[in-house]
């Protein structure tokens, strides 16, 4: 058959416009999805950053750390020796609460736990996937402070995530740890004020503490 002879046009004249619109539309939509998706994945809605989580007992770090001034290690006593910082046993809560607020309704679950032997069940706030092997003790020993990752907990009535704990976020520091270092003895201090010569202190910490940023991005540092 010969083209243009007795055969009707398949597309009308405005098909060109539709096609252009559709092609650009697909491109814009893809970009929108990409940008929007990336933003969404980094937002607190997905990462949980800044979202307080309800707990069986409304334990307030603001009160215990900020107002009373308890050291982190009083409750999280594995932080210097173990991968896990640890959560306090019911008995640790009761060391004080057998003396103060002994009849507070809020603390009834704690007393019940001690009486029944059934442990308290806290909701996890900061978590990394099962294939990530985070170790608290080495970070604290090398001068990465609690507040660097966990934020200003002394201002959190209910515990919330301060950072996304995503791989991107971890790698930010593993690639260049210097801005996040402080003398290890200050690791447990809140609202730490860097001294004047902090840049020099950090540089010397890198060599004194034998930190090798080049090796800190080896995959097995976290994945085993």
């Amino acid at each position: 058959m010969q083209i243009g002879e007795g055969m009707p046009q398949v597309f009308s004249s405005n098909a060109n416009g539709i096609a252009r619109f559709a092609l650009w539309g697909v491109c814009f939509f893809a970009m929108f999805v990409a940008i929007g998706g990336t933003a969404l994945l980094r937002s607190g809605f997905v990462t949980g950053v800044g979202q307080p989580i309800a707990q069986p007992i409304p334990f307030s770090h603001k009160h215990h750390v900020g107002e009373i001034g308890l050291d982190c290690r009083y409750c999280h006593n594995g932080v210097e020796t173990s991968a896990a910082a640890g959560l306090p046993a019911t008995e640790v809560c009761m060391t004080c609460h057998s003396q103060v607020f002994t009849n507070a309704d809020m603390l009834a679950p704690v007393r019940a736990s001690l009486a029944s032997g059934q442990p308290l069940q806290w909701q996890r706030v900061n978590s990394v996937p099962d294939f990530v092997y985070f170790n608290h003790s080495i970070h604290v020993a090398k001068g990465v402070a609690c507040e660097t990752c966990h934020g200003e907990v002394d201002d959190m009535p209910l515990m919330q995530k301060a950072h996304s704990l995503s791989m991107e976020w971890c790698l930010g520091c593993h690639r260049d740890p210097t801005p996040n270092l402080r003398p290890p003895q200050d690791a447990f201090l809140m609202h730490w004020k860097p001294p004047q010569d902090i840049e020099e202190v950090r540089r010397s910490l890198i060599s004194i503490l034998d930190i090798h940023p080049a090796t800190m991005t080896d995959c097995y540092v976290c994945h085993r």
């Binding site: 020796t81 046993a89 097995y220």
Partner: protein
């Protein structure tokens, strides 16, 4: 691989041709390889032939899109996760810091004898068994069975509740029943009551039985130990006037003769013996000396493989060989026909023994008749070896008993016993076929069974009581040399099991006895600090038996030559190296661990020699019927080079149908052919080939590195002439590479494996499995080549088909510096680290398997299916065995040896916190830690003078497939043997390579 009907089997007429091929090739892995059979080619041409065969050749576009779509949508689902809860302690136990393991010393039982262990415990959950350096039977080493103890602890099929007539009942009900009966027993003095104990050396059990006997004077105690061999005891009783047990010192022996003794693979002292033996086999310089081992054996064993001269004879011929060696040693005339071995060979051996004098050692096989033991002791005495390479001690396992199972059955038949308490063993399954235990037990008024599983005996019992696992209860035990140690629990009984001591106390009327107090009472001579120290160390100090001074050796008669034996087919029974009498049959780790020589998994086969197979017209997998004395048994044949002619080897422990793992395995139950009068070997067995073929699963073709210089070996003399023998004829390694060069300014981890020390015992493979959460895949998947062991031990033959030398080579990941796997990964999931590891990142891996395809060593393993259960509620108790420091891998993930990176990381973090370097020997890989012969050395190559650099500096250190320029971090020390120059060495054994 499986010999199934659709594969071309070795044809009988090929045997002559095979012999010719074997002479020209060195080494070889199997007869299939020599024949270049279709089966062998399948595994050489494709790493996973079954997959390649299943893929459609022309995948159309539509199918491709479907698969892509499916994988995308499935990949999306993985991101979903749920909120988690954290559950702290109510009262945090002292010493426990969550996230840090604790280690406790205890002792595991091996056929009743103790081997010391240190068990790693995560928040009260035992996950890994290591050896105890301070324990004489362990010296820091473990074996495969010890590694699997944690798996059997968490076995969901363990018995969970007492059963009365098969119905769930409570332990209190049982105690009520016993209390009701106990009154009568006290009145009658225990008339009609019998205990059936298993092999044990526990002093507390002994004391408790004595208490029971005082309470019930007529109580009778029987012992059922299907793997016992009493010949040594009988021989020493005749020779020295009382039964004695020999303790060998292989580190002092220059010349060792094994008379069918598998001292490296069997017996309660095997780990210590292996270490002592290997100490004298390490050659680093030309001036070093070695011991020499002659092995006369009736079935291939790892001891035979370690031997410098190995002769395979029929089991019944060992007597004659022993007598001939003794005659030659004493200068007597050689009696013709006495020994199947040539007089010249025997004389040279005798000369060698004589020249070694008191540093010689003759070891008789436990299962050989008393005569072999008597002859061996006579030779040792004549050589002056007693007191030097051999000590005699009082038997550590003396337990007063009134006989064995046969005596018990007679007593039941004649009505003198109506109540039997079976403690631990499984007599209904493990009895010789000529004793009808089932019939005898069905006559009983009361049968009580205590065991880990509801096994064959439990089904028959009126009362079944779940037993506590050895990691769950208090006890004590003695080692091969008499050293006592305490067994302490790592965990409360998971399923309410009751320990043996609690049950015995219950029978004595002490219903709520504390097992710890019972054991403590046995050791009341120790004060509290000493007791705590013994618990901490895992050994009771100075408790080893003193050696007994022996004087009189009466003349031993010389056996008559076995005239008629030559043409009669013999059957040799061996205990399966891992399953033993079948008690470990429900352990998937042990079922799937290749047997050292045959590489069989998930079942057993009847081993026959190539010549016997040729005569009878058999091929691999052919079912044969063996008949003797009215009993018969069908079993598939496995043609085994090095097996003596006219001898069939059957292994015990298989063919059980109780337990889901055990019944998954194939294999036959060799107890069906075993009789009480000849428990270890019989002659006059009639063999008839049957029509069918049965599946036999073996891993011997898997991961083959075909036709390359793999195992390099030489004699000691050849090594002294040319210490660099491993370089002979090996293609030189190229110096230039297209791959990137790395610099290693921190640690550079490396491993050296001494093939002279490796005895092929498979402890390392099992330890690797336990440490690295390696799944088992089952018989079907194994048959496809999908087994997941990160470390394998390749077994090579060298020399003739009928009597080859046997070589072992452990193959972990080589951690190449120029790694072919790294460059082909499209997603960077396998990458080079700063200390030279080839790290595998599971969460990045998308399963292309390019890396495995490109690995010349075939050390990468792919999760074809979801071999591990991830749903916590479905996974059951067995998920508790996982090492929390290692990721549990899912389907579609490539994995491989990591040099135990979790251990490197743990030690690095500790060293970094203490601001110091990682010490030499601080990082110990799981395989290295388990190895009884210390063949594996691991460490930092950048550290001057570290153990591993010293090992790698020896002249016979070489890398596998060096010519590929992969620069492996794992290297091997060529195997050095020490054959007697006066014996015409087999051509291939002189120097060789493959």
């Amino acid at each position: 691989m499986s010999a199934i009907a659709d594969q071309k089997p070795l044809s009988v007429s090929d045997h002559a041709a095979l012999r010719a091929v074997a002479a020209g090739r060195d080494p070889w892995r199997s007869l299939d390889e020599l024949a270049d059979s279709a089966e062998f080619r399948r595994f050489v041409e494709a790493e996973f032939p079954a997959i390649a065969e299943r893929l459609p050749l022309n995948l159309d576009r539509r199918m491709m899109l479907k698969l892509m779509g499916a994988s995308l949508s499935l990949a999306g689902l993985t991101a979903c996760s749920k909120a988690e809860r954290i559950v702290p302690y109510v009262r945090q136990p002292e010493n426990i810091i969550p996230g840090r393991p604790l280690y406790y010393a205890t002792t595991l039982s091996s056929d009743g004898y103790g081997i010391g262990a240190v068990v790693e415990c995560h928040e009260g959950r035992p996950t890994k068994v290591e050896g105890n350096l301070d324990h004489p039977a362990s010296r820091g080493a473990t074996d495969a069975i010890m590694q699997a103890a944690v798996l059997s602890l968490f076995d969901p099929e363990r018995s969970r509740t007492p059963l009365k007539q098969g119905e769930p009942a409570s332990y209190d009900d049982f105690l009520k029943d016993i209390a009701a009966l106990a009154g009568g027993w006290v009145g009658s003095g225990g008339q009609g009551l019998a205990l059936l104990i298993e092999a044990t050396t526990s002093p507390t059990t002994k004391a408790q039985i004595e208490v029971l006997k005082t309470r019930y004077p007529k109580l009778r105690v029987f012992k059922h130990d299907p793997l016992a061999a009493r010949s040594g005891e009988q021989a020493t009783a005749t020779l020295f006037g009382k039964p004695l047990t020999p303790i060998y010192h292989f580190d002092r022996a220059d010349v060792i003769v094994s008379l069918d003794a598998d001292f490296l693979g069997e017996g309660p002292g095997r780990l210590a013996y292996a270490r002592d033996f290997a100490r004298r086999r390490r050659v680093r310089a030309s001036t070093d000396t070695m011991s020499r081992l002659y092995v006369i054996e009736s079935t291939p064993t790892i001891t035979g493989a370690a031997g410098d001269h190995r002769r395979a004879v029929k089991p019944s011929a060992v007597e004659g060989v022993a007598a001939a060696i003794k005659a030659a040693l004493e200068g007597d005339k050689y009696v013709d026909g006495q020994s199947p071995l040539e007089p010249a060979w025997t004389n040279v051996l005798a000369d060698d023994l004589r020249s070694a004098g008191r540093n010689a050692l003759v070891v008789p096989g436990a299962h050989q008749p008393p005569l072999v033991h008597a002859v061996a002791f006579a030779m040792n005495a004549r050589l002056g070896a007693i007191g030097n390479t051999l000590d005699l001690i009082d038997p550590p396992d003396v337990m007063p008993n009134d006989g064995d199972l046969a005596t018990l059955c007679q007593a039941i038949e004649n009505g003198s016993i109506d109540t039997v308490v079976v403690l631990g063993s499984n007599p209904v399954q493990t009895t010789p076929s000529d004793i009808d235990v089932r019939a005898a037990f069905s006559k009983l008024k009361l049968l009580v069974h205590s065991g880990l599983y509801r096994d064959e005996t439990a089904f028959l019992a009126h009362w079944h009581i779940p037993a506590a696992h050895e990691l769950e209860g208090w006890s004590d035990i003695r080692a091969y040399d008499g050293t006592a140690s305490i067994v302490q629990p790592l965990i409360q009984p998971l399923f309410g099991g009751k320990s043996l001591h609690r049950l015995l106390a219950g029978l004595a009327g002490e219903f709520d006895a504390d097992p710890r107090a019972l054991v403590r009472a046995t050791w009341k001579a120790m004060d509290e600090p000493a007791w705590q120290q013994a618990l901490r160390d895992g050994v009771v100090p100075d408790s080893a038996a003193a050696s007994v001074a022996v004087s009189l050796i009466p003349d031993t008669p010389t056996p008559m030559p076995q005239a008629s034996a030559a043409e009669r087919l013999e059957v040799r029974f061996v205990a399966d190296p891992w399953l033993r009498d079948g008690c470990n049959a429900n352990s998937s780790w042990l079922q799937e661990l290749p047997r050292p020589l045959s590489k069989l998994v998930w079942g057993n086969a009847a081993l026959v020699s190539p010549a016997t197979a040729e005569r009878l017209g058999l091929e691999n997998g052919r079912v044969i019927n063996m008949a003797r004395g009215g009993k018969d048994l069908d079993a598939p044949v496995w043609i085994t080079p090095g097996q003596p002619d006219e001898t069939v080897t059957l292994s015990l422990g298989h063919g059980r149908k109780v337990g889901s793992v055990a019944s998954l395995a194939g294999g036959y139950d060799a107890f069906a052919l075993r009789t009480a009068d000849a428990p270890w070997f019989v002659d006059g067995v009639l063999v008839t080939p049957r029509e069918g073929l049965a599946r036999v699963v073996t891993t011997q073709h898997h991961q083959a590195m075909e036709g390359r210089a793999i195992v390099r070996h030489a004699t000691l003399d050849a090594f002294r002439d040319n210490p660099h023998f491993v370089r002979d004829g090996a293609p030189p390694a190229p110096t230039e590479s297209l791959y990137p060069d790395w610099t290693y300014d921190q640690e550079a981890w490396g491993m050296a494996i001494d093939q002279s020390a490796c005895i092929g015992c498979m402890a390392c493979v099992s330890a690797c499995q336990a440490e690295n959460n390696i799944p088992t895949v089952g018989p079907d998947q194994t048959a496809l080549g999908h087994e997941m062991h990160w470390l394998r031990i390749d077994r090579y033959y060298s020399g003739s088909v009928d009597d080859p030398a046997i070589l072992f080579q452990p193959v972990p990941c080589m951690h190449c510096e120029q790694a072919p796997c790294e460059v082909v990964c499209p997603v960077n999931a396998t990458i080079h680290t700063h200390d030279g590891l080839n790290a595998q990142v599971y969460n990045r891996c998308i399963g292309t398997r390019y890396c495995s395809q490109n690995c010349p060593y075939k050390v990468r393993r792919f999760n074809f299916l979801e071999y591990q259960e991830f749903e916590k509620d479905v996974a059951g108790p067995q998920q508790a065995v996982h090492n929390p420091d290692v990721t549990v891998r899912s389907r579609g993930i490539m994995e491989k040896c990591t040099y135990c990176v979790q251990r490197i990381s743990e030690n690095r973090i500790r060293a970094q916190i203490e601001n110091r370097q990682i010490g030499d020997g601080e990082v110990v890989t799981a395989c290295q830690q388990a190895c009884p012969t210390q063949a594996i050395v691991f460490g930092d190559l950048n550290r001057k003078g570290s153990h591993v650099t010293l090992e790698k500096a020896v002249p016979h250190n070489y890398a596998l497939l060096e010519e590929l320029n992969t620069r492996p971090r794992t290297t091997y020390l060529g195997k050095i043997t020490n054959p007697n120059g006066q014996l015409a060495a087999k051509p291939a054994a002189e120097t060789g390579r493959g």
